[in-house]
């Protein structure tokens, strides 16, 4: 009895105290764990908010870019032709010779045809349904023709592999990336030669745009606002693709977009 009493009391008291400690430890652990979870949740939310903010500002930037592109197109392509037409009409009015008049009317008619073509091209490059309907290769061809017609830059275009139509929504995204890259190369990089290659591999598609422009420092890409890099990257992310940039100051640039074919793409 004496021995049992000697052992059981300290074991009982110690056990109770240990159990108490253990319960407090569990409570403390849960509090700390939940606190961490809340903190993580908060960080996630603020990241999400930051990302949404970025997307929102990228959309605004893109809208502004589009407006600016339309303005440039109107200014560079339509305005000179309209001015020329107006001048021709004035000359026709004052021209006495019927022969010369007929020649000038013919010339004005050609200018007006060109003008109509330009308006069509501008309208098509902005119309998503048109782009989706004619396919990626054709639409890029048209875009390059339009750019080449009133810019000093030399554009070259080639397709490697057999054209594989992808989901129209994906083709539209690729086209918008191409537009952004071409716009950057002509406006910001001041390139005189731009080469665009579409490659259709069995497992994936890639598009590369190479220019001989002024290039840029790749390390400061995040600080370069107004070049639509964020919206391009968002589009690449949406396409499950990768975007590789090779550039250096005064050495031109090469942008390569690579995307796997989606399940809904036509094989």
């Amino acid at each position: 009895m004496g021995m049992t009493e000697t052992y059981i009391i300290p074991v009982f008291v110690g056990g109770t105290l240990l159990l108490t400690l253990f319960v407090f430890f569990i409570i403390y652990y849960i509090l700390v764990q939940k606190h961490k979870q809340n903190k993580h949740q908060l960080e996630k939310q603020s990241l999400l908010f930051e990302n949404q903010k970025k997307i929102f500002s990228a959309r605004i930037e893109e809208q502004e870019n589009t407006m600016s592109k339309i303005s440039v197109e109107l200014h560079d392509s339509l305005v000179p032709k309209l001015s020329l037409t107006q001048a021709n009409l004035g000359l026709i009015e004052n021209e006495a010779s019927t022969e010369k008049r007929a020649l000038m009317i013919e010339e004005t008619d050609a200018i007006l045809y060109g003008l109509l073509d330009d308006v069509h091209n501008i309208s098509h490059s902005l119309n998503s349904n048109f782009i989706k309907n004619i396919g990626l290769v054709e639409v890029i061809k048209k875009e390059l023709e339009m750019l080449g017609s009133h810019k000093q830059t030399v554009f070259s275009f080639s397709v490697t592999g057999a054209y594989l139509p992808m989901e129209p929504e994906r083709e539209l995204l690729i086209y918008r990336i191409a537009q952004e890259l071409l716009y950057n190369a002509t406006k910001h990089a001041q390139a005189s030669v731009i080469n665009l290659v579409l490659t259709y591999e069995p497992a994936h598609f890639s598009m590369s745009v190479t220019d001989n422009g002024i290039g840029f420092d790749k390390n400061i890409i995040k600080e370069m606002k107004g070049l639509g890099f964020f919206s391009m990257q968002e589009r690449v992310k949406y396409l499950n693709g990768t975007f590789d940039i090779q550039t250096a100051s005064a050495q031109g640039s090469r942008f390569t977009l690579s995307i796997p074919y989606g399940n809904t793409d036509i094989n």
Binding site: M1, T4, I8, I9, F12, V13, V23, I27, H35, L42
Partner: protein, 191 residues
């Protein structure tokens, strides 16, 4: 305003208080209050399960707490009828109740952690109720587990268990009082 689980828990506390008064009276008048405790334990278990039923999301959806309570009460009645008589201490049922309450409390804790919602536990009344329940159930579980052994072999040392039980109960009921005292403030913290 109290939510359903807190209402059940406040009823349980009021019920415990009335039971303590009654058992105190019975002890003086009849020198035995075990039968009152035996019935109280069944109702106490039932109300505790109902509390868990309302406070744990998974339980609430499928009324699991109510089923556990019903099965527990049934087992308690079997214990009273065939194993430990109503006039003796129902230590088996106390152990069973301890295991179930600790188990449900730990499950409730895990649900709190698994829940992705940003919940501030410091200001969540049910977290504190659960913590106090886990604390009191764990200690009383050990104490009641050894109670019969002390009664048989160390009767002169039974005061140690009584003191532990008294301390645990004082701490627990002070804890519960504080939770209900600060209930509006605590609830407001998570709104």
């Amino acid at each position: 305003m109290l939510d359903a689980a807190s209402k059940v828990f406040s009823i349980l506390i009021c019920f415990s208080f009335i039971t303590e008064l009654t058992t105190n009276y019975a002890a003086k008048k009849y020198q035995n209050n075990e039968s009152i405790y035996a019935i109280y334990e069944l109702l106490d278990f039932g109300l505790t399960c109902l509390y868990f039923n309302y406070s744990i999301d998974v339980f609430r959806r499928k009324n699991i707490g109510i089923y556990i309570g019903a099965v527990g009460i049934f087992l308690g009645i079997i214990n009273i009828l065939f194993i430990q008589h109503i006039s003796s201490q129902n230590s088996f049922f106390l152990l069973f109740e301890g295991i179930m309450v600790i188990g449900m409390s730990l499950f409730a804790f895990s649900r709190l952690l698994l829940n992705d919602e940003s919940l501030h536990l410091y200001s969540y009344p049910h977290f504190w109720i659960l913590s106090i329940l886990t604390f009191s159930s764990s200690i009383t579980f050990l104490n009641w587990g050894l109670y019969d052994y002390f009664v048989i072999t160390l009767k002169n040392k039974i005061w140690i268990i009584d003191i532990f039980l008294l301390i645990v109960n004082i701490i627990s009921y002070i804890g519960f009082s504080l939770v209900f005292l600060f209930y509006p403030k605590l609830k407001h913290g998570n709104d």
